[in-house]
């Protein structure tokens, strides 16, 4: 804007000048001399400039030109259209990846906030000067409130300095949780100022906090076999949904009948003006004791339930409370010919238990009867859709960590990832191979899901992925592993080459990520 203003001013001055026809200056011999000198200088400058191959213009207009077009403007090869109005919070700005992330963001014209624990001279000198340094600690939720203010996106590349469990828990697990929470709180606060709801917040479908909240839920039973023979195997089943004295909503029972199931169902009543098509999936907070359950959505015109179509998705629980994230895209029609699920039409939600395909792991598995179950319910929410990612998290694959500590590190990292996934924010989780300190953009990259990578990757490449992911819709709600291409012997290639060497015009990220699965 400054450049614009000064330019307009200069123009106005130029316009005004001719209107002053004759002043004292014009007849003043010194003034005249100066003017003729200026005129001569200008001519001479141009004249002598002719004798150069490539000349440099005067410093002042070069500066303004550069600022206008080449440094920040559209002619800079790094400039990104969305960058001007985006503030990015970088957590771990002095880490190996973070340092490069900050620089890349600055080059692209983003406004950057860097979170540091202490504003030491040593730390601040590592950051570009125009970065806003904010002080806070991801382990301390109170300090994060002011940190997230004004931020549009977050890149989290902090990691614990040690592999001590306490540090890991504080930075890699709770740190991510605290920051997502602070960020969501801030988004909600903003939305409330506009008398609305944040488009990033989740929609509460059901919360089981009192006996009344169980109203409308109906426990049912049924069998998959409709023929007479089935009744021979009817060993009985039962299920009940109750609010216990300890304040928990518990759906429990047993299914001994072969091919039988029990389910808990409710017709959804959404708040006025809300439809599920603006949401991308469901988050359930449940204690399911390791059993797997089937979520069934009934969709169709709500006036005529006979036309409803059924869609199902399976989710597994862990011992103790856990949050299950079930995206709408994972629902399959019960009748294979039905069209894919349209969340707009969903009117009924059902949680079904069946003894089939129950698999338990761990030492407790042996003692349990797989035909009985107990499901504690806390809440059911829908998480919103969006175009871009809000939170980029740099995690790790576990390669390159000393084997004795690998499990602890991975556990903390995965827990952090989980808390981000269920936060409702659009996320991108990057799990790079062992980091290398070398320039980026040198080698082709492999993007993969499923813990199969074997190579390292340069910090600069990871940083580049972080920055590119900010405005890439294919990066939203994805987690993936990334490493250098494995150069195998001829004929023994394991992977297909999905990425190319990045260059000026080549956005390698979109094609590489578009083949990967979402909501992983």
């Amino acid at each position: 804007m400054n450049v614009d203003e000064t330019q307009t001013k200069q123009k106005q001055q130029q316009q005004q000048q001719p209107s002053v026809s004759l002043s004292l200056d014009d007849v003043n011999p010194v003034g005249l001399g100066r003017k003729s000198r200026q005129l001569f200088d200008e001519v001479w400058r141009k004249f002598s400039g002719l004798g150069q191959i490539s000349r440099t213009t005067r410093a002042d207009d070069r500066e303004s030109l550069d600022a206008l077009l080449i440094r920040e403007g559209p002619m800079c090869e790094f400039a990104i259209p969305g960058a001007q109005n985006t503030t990015v919070l970088v957590v771990g700005a002095t880490s190996r990846i973070g340092r490069i992330v900050v620089r890349k963001l600055m080059l692209r014209g983003y406004t950057v906030k860097a979170l540091v624990r202490k504003a030491d001279e040593e730390v601040v000198s590592m950051l570009p000067r125009s970065v806003e340094v904010v002080i806070g600690d991801v382990g301390d939720p109170e300090t994060l409130k002011s940190v997230v203010e004004g931020c549009n996106k977050i890149i989290y590349c902090a990691t614990a300095r040690s592999t001590i469990t306490g540090d890991l828990f504080r930075v890699d697990h709770r740190g991510v949780y605290n920051l997502t929470k602070a960020f969501q709180d801030y988004n909600n606060k903003l939305a409330q100022l506009r008398a609305g709801k944040s488009s990033k917040s989740k929609l509460l479908l059901a919360k089981f906090k009192s006996a009344d909240s169980l109203n409308g839920w109906e426990a049912r039973q049924g069998t998959y076999f409709q023929d007479v023979v089935a009744s021979k195997y009817d060993a009985g089943m039962d299920a009940k949904f109750e609010y216990t004295e300890t304040g928990e909503a518990v759906f429990s029972g047993y299914v001994f009948t072969r091919g039988g199931y029990v389910e808990l169902s409710k017709r959804l009543s959404l708040p006025l003006g809300r439809t599920l098509d603006r949401y991308e999936g469901l988050v359930l907070s449940v204690g399911g004791n390791g059993r797997s359950y089937i979520l069934i959505l009934e969709a169709g015109p709500s006036a005529d339930t006979t036309q409803s179509k059924l869609y199902f998705a399976r989710f597994t629980t862990k011992v103790g409370f856990c949050r299950a994230r079930v995206p709408f895209s994972s629902f399959r029609p019960v009748k294979p010919d039905d069209p894919p699920l349209d969340p707009f039409l969903v009117h009924t939600l059902t949680i079904r238990f069946e003894p089939r395909r129950q698999r338990l792991e761990g030492p407790t598995a042996v003692k349990q009867d797989l035909r009985s179950f107990k499901l504690k319910l806390e809440y059911i929410k829908a998480f919103p859709t969006g175009q871009e990612t809000d939170f980029v998290l740099v995690s790790c694959t576990g390669l390159g960590i000393e084997s004795t500590r690998r499990e602890q590190v991975l556990k903390a990292k995965r827990a952090g990832e989980e808390s981000l996934k269920i936060s409702g924010l659009g996320y991108t989780i990057i799990r790079p191979g062992p980091l290398k300190e070398e320039p980026g953009g040198q080698r082709a990259l492999i993007f993969d899901q499923g813990n199969r990578i074997s190579q390292g990757i340069s910090c600069a490449d990871v940083a580049d992925i972080c920055v590119k992911a900010l405005h890439d819709s294919t990066a939203r709600n994805k987690s993936f592993d990334v490493c250098y291409e494995y150069v195998a012997e001829q004929g023994r290639e394991l992977y297909e080459l999905v990425a190319h060497l990045p260059d000026k015009a080549n956005n390698y990220l979109t094609p590489a990520l578009s083949v990967l699965e979402k909501n992983t």
Binding site: K11, F47, S54, T56, D61, R62, R99, R103, P439, G440
Partner: protein, 352 residues
């Protein structure tokens, strides 16, 4: 310090690599190995230098910029995340401290037009190279001028050529990159005057120059830098096509949609002025600046086929920006910007 005879005629530069008093040749023993990602850019505020810095930062290098101490510091370099150190090539004692922990030096410095060409471009460079050698810098990238070996009558070109030789003889691991012309230079020279309806000065010289985008030069430089097979080689970077001044002006006129007010200066006039100014000591700088007119009178072409270079670097020709594309981008953007400004200034008229 000066290896040349300090006389009025100073285009007699002897190319002797006599290592005179280099500031305290410190040989840092086998201590901590320097990281290959740490580079020093000399001349970082220049047209090419800033692109080199930006490219380096984006590729993940740690960049230190050697900048002359001055009242208005180069803020934009710090804003991008580079470290700025103050040193002056004409004061050799300031150099060694800036080289500590550096793996590669990229030298894009050229003296400013207003100062004597010898201080930075010859004496400064000699000091820098000697210092780099003494301190065990592992690679030195030097930007030179295309055809500099063919025009010893032009002081800047001769100095560049001598520096090339000096660098070669120094035994440093090096890459020399010869350049033709920068597209960025054309903006101030032709594009802006045409838009502002000021007169454009051009010559009728038939010289052709293959202009290149400095962003491309920076990109190719780093590809070359990492390629170990290019060590000690001499590369020439040229744009896709060589242009005469008249052609560039015509192109600008077409893209700007308005005719230029061209003042054509015959090359003979330039040449004559140079001859004249050479007679007086106080106009020697002027003479040197006009020296290129010697080159410009010939129908020489500042260009070279790039196919081999592209192949060597693994770059495709279509990735290199052409002048048409570059200027078109510029005019589209600037015309849009001017339109916005006009709209704004009209609005302010209402209030005044």
């Amino acid at each position: 310090m000066s290896p040349s005879s300090a006389a009025g005629k100073f285009n007699v530069v002897k190319c002797t690599s006599a290592p005179t008093a280099t500031a305290g040749a410190v040989n840092l023993g086998p201590g901590t190995p320097v990281r290959p990602t740490s580079i020093l850019v000399v001349g970082a505020t220049g047209t090419l230098g800033r692109q080199v810095v930006r490219r380096a930062l984006d590729e993940g290098y740690d960049v230190r910029c050697l900048v002359r101490p001055r009242p208005a510091p180069a803020d934009f370099l710090r804003d991008w995340g580079a470290t700025v150190v103050n040193a002056d090539l004409s004061k050799p004692e300031t150099i060694p401290a800036t080289l500590v922990g550096i793996h590669t030096i990229i030298d894009c410095a050229t003296g400013r037009p207003e100062e004597p060409i010898k201080t930075v471009d010859w004496e400064g460079k000699v000091a820098l190279i000697q210092c780099a050698k003494a301190m065990g810098i592992q690679k030195y990238v030097f930007f030179s001028i295309h055809n500099c070996d063919k025009h010893p009558e032009v002081p800047l070109m001769e100095i560049k050529y001598c520096t090339e030789k000096f660098l070669h003889d120094s035994g440093l691991n090096h890459i020399i990159i010869r350049l033709c012309g920068f597209m960025q230079g054309l903006i101030g020279q032709y594009a802006v005057p045409i838009l502002e309806e000021k007169s454009v000065w051009g010559t009728d010289a038939p010289t052709r120059i293959a202009y290149m985008d400095t962003q491309d030069i920076a990109r190719l430089t780093f590809i070359a830098l990492r390629n170990e097979t290019i060590n000690g080689k001499l590369l020439t970077f040229a744009g896709p096509r060589a242009w005469t001044t008249q052609e560039v002006i015509t192109l600008c006129e077409r893209l700007a949609g308005q005719d230029a007010n061209v003042t054509t200066v015959p090359v003979t006039v330039l040449r004559f002025t140079r001859q004249l100014t050479r007679f007086f000591e106080w106009t020697n700088d002027v003479a040197d600046r006009l020296a290129f007119s010697e080159v410009l009178t010939s129908d020489i072409v500042f260009s070279t086929p790039m196919n081999d270079t592209y192949q060597l670097l693994g770059v495709e020709a279509k990735e290199i920006v052409t002048l048409e594309k570059y200027l078109q981008d510029y005019f589209t953007n600037i015309l849009k910007k001017l339109k916005d400004l006009k709209a704004q200034s009209k609005q302010t008229d209402i209030y005044f």
